[in-house]
Symmetry: C2
Subunit: 242 residues, 2 copies
């Protein structure tokens, strides 16, 4: 029950550090200031300690990033585990869909997480657990082991609730400054034509003129429907080379 009694500026009792506290602080920093703000020094400051003290509780910065990725994955697993249980037959699709949307919901709170996921190499036990449950749903729904395996690859990051968008975020049409916007239709005729027909002033639209949630659903359903079709009429699910 030790309390810092130094009559200085630090009023907080200074809980002892721990791996969990370090990771939690890192998640908070990423949430409020973005992933680049997660530095060992900033982390230490947030915890009222010195940067070098962190190395007693974590291996290095890479360990911190792996750690916060896992924190989010476990949040995702927990949220996904709370949606309705498995269903048999065609119900596998809605069960998987629900889990994926639950995952997506978690990522809204941690928009930096996809970038950190993609910067990691290898796979943690937390991710394996998440995929294990998803495979279970698919197998219960009647997908073969082969098809479930292909399914995970086809879904890719969508299984975890996100997909990298082709446009942005960022300036919609021009990173190159010296570009004449009036010339847009001349330089990109098909793109301009498409946008002209597609644009709808939706409030949920982002900088790329698109409703990300709707596009995520479209792509996800395209894949899930395709998998369901293969479930019903399996063909050579192992593509021949050549």
């Amino acid at each position: 029950m030790q309390v810092a009694m130094s009559g200085g500026t630090d009023l907080r009792p200074r809980l002892p550090l721990s791996r969990e506290r370090v990771l939690q602080a890192a998640v908070t920093i990423a949430d409020v200031a973005g992933p680049d703000a997660v530095t060992m020094r900033r982390l230490a400051e947030e915890l009222g300690a010195e940067a070098t003290s962190l190395y007693y509780h974590v291996d290095n910065k890479d360990d911190v990033l792996n750690g916060i990725a896992d924190v989010v994955v476990m949040e995702i697993s927990q949220a996904a585990g709370q949606v309705g249980g498995a269903a048999t037959g065609a119900g596998w699709k809605v069960a998987v869909r629900r889990r994926i949307f639950a995952a997506r919901q978690v990522l809204l709170r941690h928009p930096w997480a996809p970038g950190v996921f993609e910067s990691r190499s290898g796979v943690s036990a937390a991710v394996l657990r998440y995929y294990d449950a998803m495979i279970g749903l698919m197998r219960d729904g009647g997908l073969s082991a082969d098809l479930a395996h292909h399914a995970l690859h086809a879904l890719g990051s969508r299984a975890l609730g996100f997909s990298r968008e082709v446009f942005g975020p960022g300036d919609p049409a021009a990173r190159d400054a010296g570009q004449d916007p009036a010339d847009f239709a001349g330089q990109f005729p098909h793109l301009a034509g498409m946008l002209h027909e597609v644009v709808h002033d939706d409030p949920d639209t982002n900088l790329c003129w698109c409703d990300n949630q709707a596009e995520f659903e479209f792509g996800l359903d395209l894949i899930l429907d395709g998998l369901d079709r293969l479930r019903e009429q399996p063909r050579s699910s192992d593509p021949q080379p050549g």
Copy 2:
């Protein structure tokens, strides 16, 4: 026709720097030493100059990364432009497929490029040009503007020839060291069961036991086939909110 005449260690004529030379050097460094090796100091060393000199030709490091991303995108556009021209009707699918595989071929030479793409925000003219051509193929094939738009989102990074894999690269099943491999089947029963049925000792297999090229094709065809079906029998291609 100036040549450095200093009788020092530097024998090379020292071409003057230029944005193009800087970007080319950056691509080379990334190719041989990975993207993290692309630092302003290393870049300068490679060019026989000082780090601070680079700032006369590029804005900052972000500009360098945007630049090398565009170099690769332009390589991709050129390779994709050399495959067979457009086809009408159902031929759109094979035309798009060929372009995407051409893109993928380029990325084999620059395996760091996907990571850099994903770290960029906004979209360059080079990317817009690439997508413009792809939209043209789709519209010629009979896809509506709306469907072509959804298609780009659904393809996501696959349009540029890559997809982020769920597993690795890296240690296949365990980033967490303290894990008993004998317990694998106990902790991840569905995963273990799936792998048991799926594993085939293919030489083209990577660390995740999977043939990345075959999985890429599977996922790509799933999406393209789904889109082609929507082309033939369009339904409400604009998903209703709620």
